[in-house]
């Protein structure tokens, strides 16, 4: 289990608690002072990320696709920032 704290330059703080397993995400909690509209998207995103490979570029693309499909808007951080914070918690 790993933790990370990533201050997005010019943005908000991302705090990740990651349980990895064999190079993949077993469980993840993303916390911080960012904004995500609608807010309920975050729990769905955490569930979506379970099982994903811990590869920064792939995660960034997957997170962006997930947000696009959910019609969600992230403010104060980007999908790439989230991917970076997740890898930092590995």
């Amino acid at each position: 289990m790993g933790d990370s704290i990533f201050k997005v330059p010019g943005g908000k703080l991302l705090k990740v608690k990651l349980t990895p397993s064999e190079g993949r995400i077993l469980a993840i909690v993303i916390k911080g002072d960012f904004f995500l509209h609608p807010e309920k998207t975050l729990v769905a995103l955490e569930e979506f990320l379970a099982g994903k490979e811990l590869d920064e570029a792939t995660l960034a693309a997957d997170i962006q696709d997930f947000l696009d499909e959910a019609g969600a808007t992230l403010v104060g951080a980007s999908a790439a920032d989230m991917a970076k914070a997740i890898l930092m918690a590995k």
Partner: protein, 255 residues
């Protein structure tokens, strides 16, 4: 000018305050509530955290319990805020989706609505400006923090404007390892956050800020503030939300 219901500066607990905000959105979703501006204070003093923050990560709950400070999770994102009963005034502005004050561009809508605070500070002879994402600053220091949610077919933005600031108390409430609270950290916060009383170097009363906010929002947002009250259904929803959500450990410690 467009008419808004105005709920005068009042005092509630943290649970009531957050429950009332959500209850208004529920009534607005049903087309029963008009666009609304409310001003309020928090008694007992309380700390609110952003909806995605971890309560025990951010707040020293033991200190809060010992000092009778409530703690609550908001429905909006953003950071932890200490709502000192004597040291700030909070506003909430709730408008239906598509309203001119809340365009789909979120940053733009923060800027528009924060215009009310900037005008209020101007009335108090303080020059300030909007600093993206969600702050109002004066002389480079934050004096107001704001947060927005879009749900129930409406946009709710609430925010605090600091009348006074006690950095030492703030550090006791927020979970910064005590050994890390150095003089430098306290100085860093003093260099990045300020308050109306500090800027003006005089004792500005809470009501004076309340009146300035009322006038500021009215002028900047071009709205006529018509004194009103919560409807019975809003109050009933607020009571239910307070009991079933905002006062519960399940909600407040969910992250």
């Amino acid at each position: 000018m467009e008419e808004f219901r105005f709920l005068e500066l009042c005092v509630y607990s943290a649970y009531e305050n957050m429950a009332v905000d959500e209850a208004i959105t529920l009534a607005m979703k049903e087309g029963k509530a008009p666009p609304t501006l409310r001003l309020y204070r928090w008694r007992p003093s309380a700390v609110s955290i952003g909806t995605f923050q971890g309560m025990t990560d951010e707040v020293d709950l033991k200190f809060c319990r010992l000092n009778k400070i409530d703690y609550i999770r908001r429905i909006t994102g953003g950071g932890a805020v200490y709502h000192d009963f004597e040291g700030e005034v909070t506003y909430s502005l709730i408008v239906p989706k598509g309203h001119r004050l809340a365009p789909s561009d979120i940053l733009k809508s923060y800027k528009i609505i924060c215009g009310g605070i900037i005008e209020a500070l101007k009335q108090l002879k303080i020059k300030s400006k909007f600093r993206p994402i969600n702050d109002v600053v004066t002389g480079g220091k934050k004096i107001s923090g704001n947060a927005q949610t879009r749900r129930n077919s409406c946009i709710l933005q609430h925010g605090t404007t600091l009348l006074d600031l006690d950095v030492e108390v703030m550090f006791s409430i927020l979970k910064v390892p005590k050994e890390k609270i150095s003089d430098k950290m306290i100085q860093d916060v003093k260099n990045s956050v300020t308050s109306i009383r500090e800027v003006l170097d005089r004792h500005v009363e809470v009501d004076e800020l309340g009146n300035a906010l009322k006038a500021g929002f009215s002028k900047a947002l071009k709205i006529d503030l018509i004194p009103g009250a919560l409807m019975a259904r809003e109050w009933a929803d607020a009571q239910r939300l307070m009991k079933e959500k905002y006062s519960t450990t399940k909600w407040n410690l969910s992250r």
